[in-house]
Symmetry: C2
Subunit: 191 residues, 2 copies
């Protein structure tokens, strides 16, 4: 998506530790009009794929998931990162995910009330690097006996190969921008 | 908002510990078409109020904030609940908030990059009970020297008086549904 690539070049900051900071429009402050355009593009890509539900992980995936769902007219389920007092264990699907950003493991949980074998699920997230969050979501969809239609990502770090590994495994992965290199702070997109 | 009251009566579950569970459309699974209607109503209520930014707190406030912002055409800033490795302390506004749901205190933080003295901020959240989250957001807006235009809430527990205390303090609080009693699992809305 050309507009996203331009936005990343204009506002993204490459920080030490392989971090691309886009908190001005995607992560901390949200440019909602622009997010809705990204959601529209995701809906265009997955039109006709039979998606009836979107799954994402709190917190930074929620906004893009809502934007996509507003155009696909399907509900969003967001996996939670910790069990809350409102959810008890035997009613949950869960997976263990390692976060490189926060340097720790966490559980992602989804209530069994909200995923069924007949669901055709689109996975949505803001970033894709090695693919840990996506693998966690896929595990949860599999636990529910539901089907993964594919994944829609805002920004994929192509050089970390998480997306390509999933594609090689037969999963459709659509990223609105794929970065093939950020060496020396210079961002190169995949063509 | 009549449609929200009807939805709460139809799907909401009153659980021990004064919990209203609406995770089927607002908290864990999101009915995005319905959320967009709520966002449209918030935009109608605050049309002409000069709002140029929405502030919410991750994670469950984000979806409603995005829905409101999509109709008000302003950016959303979401306060984060823990400092991440992407943010360093001297660049932050922060406030301490007590969560009764999770029975703990947490910090909410907003990068100084995203709030300015000239901002006119609408606070958005899914629930309002005693008002701790709103007070935390107001403290952050005050730290930035910005102005609070008001708050927009999906569900207010009116009998906990957080909303009325804020109204008495001169802050505009618009809740799409105000519950005045949940005794014995019977939900009574404010007229």
């Amino acid at each position: 998506m050309k507009a996203l690539e331009e936005r990343i070049l204009r506002e993204g900051k490459v920080l030490p530790g392989d971090i691309l900071k886009v908190s001005g429009f995607l992560n901390h402050q949200l440019d909602v009009d622009f997010l809705m355009q990204m959601g529209e593009e995701i809906a265009r890509l997955y039109a006709g794929a039979g998606v009836n539900k979107i799954l994402t992980i709190e917190a930074s995936g929620i906004a893009l998931a809502v934007a996509a769902a507003a155009h696909l007219h399907v509900p969003v389920v967001f996996a939670k990162k910790n069990a809350t007092t409102n959810l008890s264990d035997d009613t949950l699907y869960s997976a263990r995910v390692h976060s490189y950003t926060h340097e720790k493991d966490y559980n992602v949980i989804v209530s069994k009330e909200f995923l069924y074998p007949e669901d055709r699920v689109l996975l949505v997230d803001d970033f894709l690097a090695v693919g840990n969050a996506l693998h966690g979501m896929i595990e949860i969809v599999n636990q529910a006996g539901a089907e993964v239609c594919g994944a829609a990502i805002a920004i994929e770090k192509g050089y970390q190969h998480g997306g390509d590994d999933l594609r090689a495994a037969g999963i459709r992965v659509e990223s609105l921008a794929v970065i093939d290199s950020m060496e020396n702070g210079h961002i190169v997109f995949r063509r």
